[in-house]
């Protein structure tokens, strides 16, 4: 429910406010439609603050754009490691530039008495929120590396699902908290656009580049029809009304879509009895399935030991998948010493299931974002997006009489004094409840 609220409800609310609010503010109060410049009152700190911030954020947004617009192309581009490294380095540097700029901007607003006269609460709120967002973004880049790659398969489809009115949060539900915070914060900032100085983004003067240098406005109607000179530009009022009309229609259409989703989120649409029974049936089926799964899960949880494999079925090169006590995938290998190696198969980067075949360096590969994990140590390779090692699992070996012959806890400590070579290869390997983390 919380996820629904943050990743479906909030986005549609934000988009609705962004579109409707920006248009309405332009119509109702065009006077305020800009950022209130404070250069007139203080210009030295502003130079460094505003330049660092604007240049930094433009670079960063430019980096976000292709991942969102052309994910496939971007993915193939970033498969080149040098390119990927460049992109990420530039991004990190730009966000540091942003943070420096924002700190200067915040400090100058707080310190100068003159600037306090032109500073509103929302100015400060916005500066702090944006600073927070950039800091979160930067820590994401450092802790969950290669976002340029993994975003194409996670956040991009999520964003498109929102924009095409088919919200699907499964892409990001399982993402680390930092990523989710970045997404939520982005929606909040978008929501604030019409209520803050951020509307200045929409006042970019496109027409300036195409207009003649001089502008003449005729107050009375008499001369207007006679204008043929290029130098003379008609009063922009009519153009403005036309433009505003077009924008409002477009905005209204978009708003209808957003509103529909928003309403649908809170009030379910009415359905016929047949449809409803069908839906209920489906729901029941799903619930039954879930109940089944849950029972199975509970039963497993109750068991002291869960069977993994016979010792002679384990392989040195190819791991065998099994499910651990917490319903997570894991892999069982045969070690060089003839004893099993049990290791979690859930990648510590973003939770993909790791591949089962060892490469020539004794490593297993997470196919999502190319992390290699050594199965003996669990450590990822140098420069991998995953930073933490895969944890090992404890195991027990039982003979045919259900007697424990040998046992190893997750930290690798062994119990039981048996010569390895003397163990019967048909003995079974289990994971034990007592080893559950």
């Amino acid at each position: 429910m919380m996820n629904q609220m943050f990743f479906v409800g909030l986005p549609y609310l934000a988009l609705f406010l962004l579109v409707a609010g920006s248009i309405l503010r332009y119509v109702w109060n065009p006077f305020s439609y800009s950022a209130l410049s404070s250069q007139f009152l203080e210009k030295n700190a502003l130079l460094w603050g505003t330049l660092s911030w604007h240049i930094g954020i433009l670079i960063i947004l430019l980096g976000h754009l292709p991942a969102f617009l052309v994910p496939e192309l971007w993915k193939s581009l970033t498969s080149n490691f040098v390119f990927l490294l460049t992109v990420e380095t530039v991004g990190v540097m730009a966000s540091i530039l942003c943070i420096a700029g924002l700190i200067i901007l915040i400090v100058r607003r707080v310190v100068s008495g003159k600037l306090q006269q032109v500073t509103t609460v929302i100015d400060i709120l916005l500066l702090v929120l944006i600073l927070l967002q950039v800091v979160i973004g930067l820590s994401m880049a450092l802790m969950h590396r290669w976002g340029a790659v993994w975003s194409t398969g996670t956040t991009t489809p999520y964003l498109w699902s929102i924009l095409t009115f088919r919200p699907d949060i499964s892409y990001i539900e399982e993402m680390p908290l930092l990523v989710q915070a970045h997404i939520v914060m982005a929606w909040i900032i978008l929501m604030l656009v019409p209520f803050s100085r951020l509307v200045h983004i929409f006042s970019f003067p496109f027409q300036y580049f195409f207009r003649p240098p001089q502008k003449v406005v005729w107050v009375s109607e008499r001369r207007k029809e006679h204008d043929d000179s290029l130098v003379v530009v008609q009063e922009s009022r009519r153009d403005f009304v036309k433009g505003a009309l077009g924008l409002s229609v477009a905005g209204a259409l978009l708003s209808v879509g957003v509103l529909d989703k928003l309403a649908g989120f809170f009030y379910k649409p009415e359905v016929s009895v047949e449809e409803e029974s069908k839906l209920l049936e489906q729901k029941l089926k799903r619930l039954e399935q879930t109940a089944e799964e849950r029972t199975y899960q509970l039963e497993r949880m109750k068991k002291e030991f869960i069977y993994v494999s016979r010792l002679n079925q384990l392989d040195i090169e190819k791991g065998k998948y099994f499910i651990d006590y917490l319903m997570r995938p894991a892999l069982a290998f045969l070690g060089k010493d003839g004893l099993p190696i049990l290791i979690s198969a859930k990648c510590t980067h973003l939770g993909c299931t790791v591949g089962s075949e060892l490469d020539n360096q004794g490593r297993i590969l997470c196919p999502c974002h190319v992390s290699y994990f050594n199965i003996n140590t669990g450590m990822p390779n140098q420069g991998a997006p995953a930073l933490d090692p895969l944890p090992h699992l404890g195991w027990v070996i039982m003979n045919a009489n259900n007697e424990i012959i040998l046992e190893q806890d997750p930290s690798g400590k062994r119990y039981g004094n048996v010569n390895v070579s003397s163990i019967d290869k048909s003995n079974r390997v289990f994971i034990a409840k007592k080893h559950k983390e």
């Binding site: 250069q39 509103t120 003067p205 027409q207 001089q214 009375s220």
Partner: protein, 498 residues
């Protein structure tokens, strides 16, 4: 030929006494608002001096106005479309509050509200921006009458043309001289502020050429502030909009001259309509420095020429407007008598405010103050003037000394001509010779004298015949309903809020 009507002005500097009544009249009507306290749409400067804002004439710093490129194209010096990208986030050519002054008032309330004590309560100066007590370090006319001062007068950019000797002479004690320069927006025919505005908020009114800012369209880029070489566009720090002199258009539309014109004690101000050819503006503004004044004049059209009248009618300029152009005192000063010159024509904005340069400070010291003429060369004194001709040429003719000299000759000749009527010092041959040398006939000299020294209000102000009803045809919302919200006739109170 694209004939346009323009409300133009002449300020006769010989008559300016530097009393600032014009400034105060303007302040009380238009800029007595939060965020506008520091603005003086009309201000009076002492020359030589640094002016307001400080060193506004220094375009090396502010980069205002137009320039002619090597390819003979007219382009904005700095705030142009190409430079826009570089200056989008931070515009280095902007003046800041320090370049004007921090506006202040006094804590008058303290005089009556102070607690009983041994000392007389005082009204300390407090900033009109922060409300905190401040030390006043600059003001709108801080260098008033301070000619000769090393920090103000000696830094006047117009002195750069003078040799060290001439500068020393100028500031020698007992020979220090100065003049007053009242300034308002020039309502240029080739305004650089309009060309620089990214939002398209600035425009020239078609009917009368008044340059205005649409406050609702203005997005606070402030490129106009930097682009105006006269620094006559001001940034309201509270509303985030540019503001400028509106030539009191609500007064003009109701048949009254602007407040600064109306209140002028010395009656130095003239207003009238000029007709000009908009098609020729760009080409004329590309002229070399030396011929700039002449080429600016060449844009103006003779309102008596049948061709011009025909063109004006084709352009829907009303017969009343043509009539008004024919009676214009500005036409007489600028074109007929060639007495009035534009301020800093080298900025190439074609300013529509013309100045008659002052003769008075020029004549003061010659012959130890004794006013007589021993030689046959009556005009030699002009060359030995206290305020060097080079200084005046730097102000009014882009350095062309001949333009200044011919104006001075005329002014001096009229003086001799009128003096001869009562004092009979000079014989009529000599007067005829003087008039001939300054290229005038007695009728013209008399006409100049009449319009300069004893004009009535209807001779000084031949206003463009604009009807209020016509001005309101544009479908603007009722201006009466917004009275009191803002001096600029905003429909809404100019509150930003967010």
């Amino acid at each position: 030929m694209d004939v346009r009507a323009q409300t133009a002005m002449v300020f006769h500097l010989d008559k300016c006494i530097g009393c600032h009544t014009c400034s105060v009249a303007c302040k009380n009507i238009w800029t007595d608002r939060p965020g506008a306290e520091y603005m003086w749409w009309n201000n009076v400067e002492t020359k030589p001096g640094t002016g307001y804002p400080t060193l506004w004439e220094d375009q090396v710093n502010y980069k205002g106005g137009w320039e002619v490129t090597d390819k003979r194209e007219l382009k904005l010096k700095s705030q142009n479309k190409k430079n826009f990208w570089l200056k989008m986030f931070y515009n280095p050519n902007q003046p800041t509050l320090d370049d004007y002054y921090e506006p202040w008032t006094y804590e008058y309330k303290h005089l009556t509200d102070a607690k009983l004590g041994d000392d007389q309560p005082t009204a300390r100066p407090i900033s009109q921006i922060t409300g905190e007590p401040i030390d006043i370090e600059a003001g709108p006319n801080w260098d008033d009458d301070l000619s000769g001062s090393p920090i103000y007068a000696e830094n006047d950019p117009n002195l750069s043309q003078l040799s060290e000797d001439e500068k020393r002479m100028l500031f020698e004690i007992e020979s220090i001289s100065m003049m007053y320069l009242p300034r308002i927006c020039n309502h240029c025919a080739n305004p650089s502020c309009v060309a620089a505005c990214p939002s398209g908020a600035l425009y020239k009114r078609g009917e009368d050429g008044i340059v205005l800012v649409n406050q609702d369209v203005c997005r606070g880029w402030r490129n106009c502030v930097a682009a105006c070489p006269y620094k006559k566009i001001y940034f309201n720090w509270k509303t985030g909009k540019s503001e400028k002199c509106i030539l009191c258009y609500p007064r003009i539309e109701t048949g009254q001259p602007p407040a600064c014109f109306h209140s002028c004690v010395g009656r130095i101000r003239y207003m009238g309509v000029l007709l000009y050819d908009a098609d020729r503006v760009e080409e004329a503004m590309k002229a070399p420095l030396n011929s700039l004044v002449e080429s600016q004049r060449s844009v103006l059209l003779d309102p008596f020429d049948p061709e011009v009248i025909k063109g004006a009618k084709e352009n829907n300029i009303s017969p009343e407007m043509i009539d008004s152009a024919q009676n214009s005192p500005v036409w007489n000063y600028v074109m007929k008598w060639k007495l009035a010159l534009p301020l800093h024509p080298e900025f190439r904005t074609l300013p529509m405010l013309y100045y008659v340069p002052p003769l008075l400070p020029v004549m003061g010291k010659i012959g130890d103050g004794i006013y007589e003429h021993k030689t046959e060369d009556f005009f030699a004194s002009i060359e030995q003037a206290r305020l060097p001709m080079k200084f005046l040429a730097s102000l009014f003719s882009a350095g062309n000394l001949n333009e200044i000299r011919s104006v001075m000759k005329k002014l001096l000749a009229i003086r001799h001509f009128k003096r001869a009527e009562s004092r009979k010092e000079l014989g009529s041959d000599k007067i005829r010779k003087i008039l001939h040398e300054s290229r005038m006939d007695p009728e013209e000299a008399e006409a100049i004298y009449q319009l300069t020294s004893c004009p009535g209000p209807y001779e000084r102000f031949v206003l463009p015949p604009l009807q209020r009803e016509e001005a309101m045809e544009g479908g603007e919302e009722c201006p009466e309903s917004c009275k009191g919200s803002c001096g600029l006739g905003d429909v809404q109170t100019p509150k930003r809020g967010l």
